[in-house]
């Protein structure tokens, strides 16, 4: 029984390292979700059902969701601003041709 626990602990260590070494943030969210799930499995093994329930809902759902919301807000602003400057430039280009 302790060997199962040791195996789960090693899996937690490896997943934590994988989360840190993933450089692309969108892929890191997936790794974070997996890490949260493995931590919940470890809490379940440690006979802590309350903490495992908390970790499943937060670490596998709420925490990746928060990161995704932040990323989507940054991306939305960037693409919306770029689209607006493109529209402005094309309008000014058209007006310049008219004057000529």
């Amino acid at each position: 029984m302790m060997w199962v626990g040791a195996g789960i602990l090693m899996l937690v260590g490896v997943s934590g390292f994988a989360v840190v070494r993933t450089r692309d943030v969108t892929a890191q969210i997936v790794a974070l979700g997996f890490y949260g799930l493995v931590m919940a499995l470890m809490f379940f093994f440690f006979q802590a059902p309350d903490v495992a329930l908390s970790q499943v809902t937060v670490g596998a759902v709420a925490l990746p969701l928060m990161v995704m919301l932040a990323l989507s807000r940054m991306r939305y602003r960037k693409t919306a601003l770029r689209a607006q400057t493109q529209r402005k430039n094309s309008k000014q280009g058209g007006k310049g041709n008219e004057h000529e």
Partner: protein, 118 residues
Amino acid sequence: MPPHMELLPYIVAGWLFFCGLYGIVTSRHLVHCVICLAVLQTSTYVLLLGIGYRLGGSAPVFADISPGKVVVDPVVQALMLTDVVVEAVVVALMLALVVKAYEKSGCIDPKDLSTLRG
């Protein structure tokens, strides 16, 4: 119990702490930095729950077992419970700071943020 397994959860906790710190130091994206901070926070859960575990003990919920049986330590679990939920909202606060910094300066690399503009 084999001697090399006596300190396993504490070693894994120290390893996770070191990994999180390594991620923060070598980070090139602010959101990556915040996620590594979250990993750092989870290392403390492993340490505390490793201390409270008892071989052969069951969960400290007496809904279906009689109140005399051997259970694991409930005090450390109570400390962890609130911490896990509060961590998510504090990460949301740090990400709000990151979003604001990105909007003001336009760069996402921590190195570029350190130049003061006159």
